[in-house]
Symmetry: C2
Amino acid sequence: MAEITKEEITKWFQGLQDSICNSLEKLDGKSTFKEDQWDRPEGGGGRSRVIKGGDLIEKGGVNFSAVSGPTPEKILNALNLPEANFFATGVSIVLHPQNPWVPIIHMNVRYFEMSNGIWWFGGGIDLTPHYVIKEKAQNFHQYLKDTCDKHDSEFYPRFKEWADDYFFVKHRNETRGIGGIFFDRLTVKDGKSKADHWQFVKDVGETFIPAYTDAIEGLRDKNWSDADKNWQKIRRGRYVEFNLVHDKGTKFGLDTNGRTESILMSMPPEANWEYDYQPKSNLELETQEQLKKGINWIA
Amino acid sequence: MAEITKEEITKWFQGLQDSICNSLEKLDGKSTFKEDQWDRPEGGGGRSRVIKGGDLIEKGGVNFSAVSGPTPEKILNALNLPEANFFATGVSIVLHPQNPWVPIIHMNVRYFEMSNGIWWFGGGIDLTPHYVIKEKAQNFHQYLKDTCDKHDSEFYPRFKEWADDYFFVKHRNETRGIGGIFFDRLTVKDGKSKADHWQFVKDVGETFIPAYTDAIEGLRDKNWSDADKNWQKIRRGRYVEFNLVHDKGTKFGLDTNGRTESILMSMPPEANWEYDYQPKSNLELETQEQLKKGINWIA
């Protein structure tokens, strides 16, 4: 069987961006995506697509990029490798909903290769509910587990733990949300071929819409109060803190002179900070108490 | 003359916090500061004072701390020194105003010493107007220059340039605001004694209230529109980006397990992000165009 090529991966990711934007426009029912195509001076470029003021989505982005050029020093140093060119392509999504009952969702799927033959896949999906609803959290993790289990029964427990560790706001000692799955540097090992990994990454990408559709179902039309909106903005503040202080992808993008507007499409439309905020309702408190690692959401 | 002691410095900084809070409560005229005293498990502690919902100040903090213990690895490694204990004390201020015409202001004055005899002073004041007003910018820099000039005619140009470089939002290619002064690791050199440096730092601390009083004069009662408020929130988003991505003090505090609520008192009450925001008025555009290094505000 022919080796999976970067052209094939790139094309599929572009198609994934198209189909997800299409589905999200249908789900939203009011707003549509606006596209910016951009070039990277060092090589490659991308298509950033943003949506705002929707019925469902207050602000969101679905970005595709395929960039190339000399491998950033940071990566070469970390791997202890001499100069090489790289190619990286992926799709990144962050959606901030209007309604505080609807969760924030994030997905990223990506492929990286170097001219020295090294390659890997990475990605993840995680959910950040402003209010944690047990049944919804369970469904979300079940979608991810089902996708993982089709490939390897070790994947879900391993990638779920990885997400708990990755999406952790250390200075708050809390997780960003209820986690999901996170994986990086998947390459040929454990008896898995490049084709196996690629099929897994494609399946993760295709899990986004069904998982999100379930996550918003019954919540998007729920009434909300000013207090709910304020809590949403406080939680969005924490989202900002994670992304700007801890997220390795954001840091790497900004450090390597990436396209700032595309990287920071993950920022919420409005965020609030109150000094020493204390939960003001049982629901806020219950959510706060569930922002920790190691919860088995499916059990 | 007896050497300046850490006890003397600590006491003076506490007094500075008191007098600044006092003056700010008078300036605000509506809200008062709420104090939290806290202890640091490894040694020392602080008094965080926050004000919110004022007539002038929407959210602000004036923090004093005096902490001690084993010197963080990061500092020892940077200086290539063996283990030593440290002591650090300082006052930090960030004030976010209600009115978009009023600037955000920040000040920090600090003293650091180690059991190996090494010590230094640091600090700075900088102004972040949502709308840059030439005359106000000139006055602000004049206050700082006058304070500097009392000590050394080299200080203002040197520390003004240092502020331009420090308060720079690299990923936006813009300065945080109109800058001010920034200095660090002032120690015995250039013929200056510890007493000289200490007098300079005290003078900087005492420049805060007069400089701020001028900066808000005639602006706090100016009418503002929804568009002005939105621009203010966009600019606050950039303030968040600087503080969480670039500010070394914030990073150091969060990395070394500092008190998160005290460190992040600098966050604005409300901040907005819009994808690829473009200035919507001449005033916004003129402000944007003045967010660059090397402007001689006094000339």
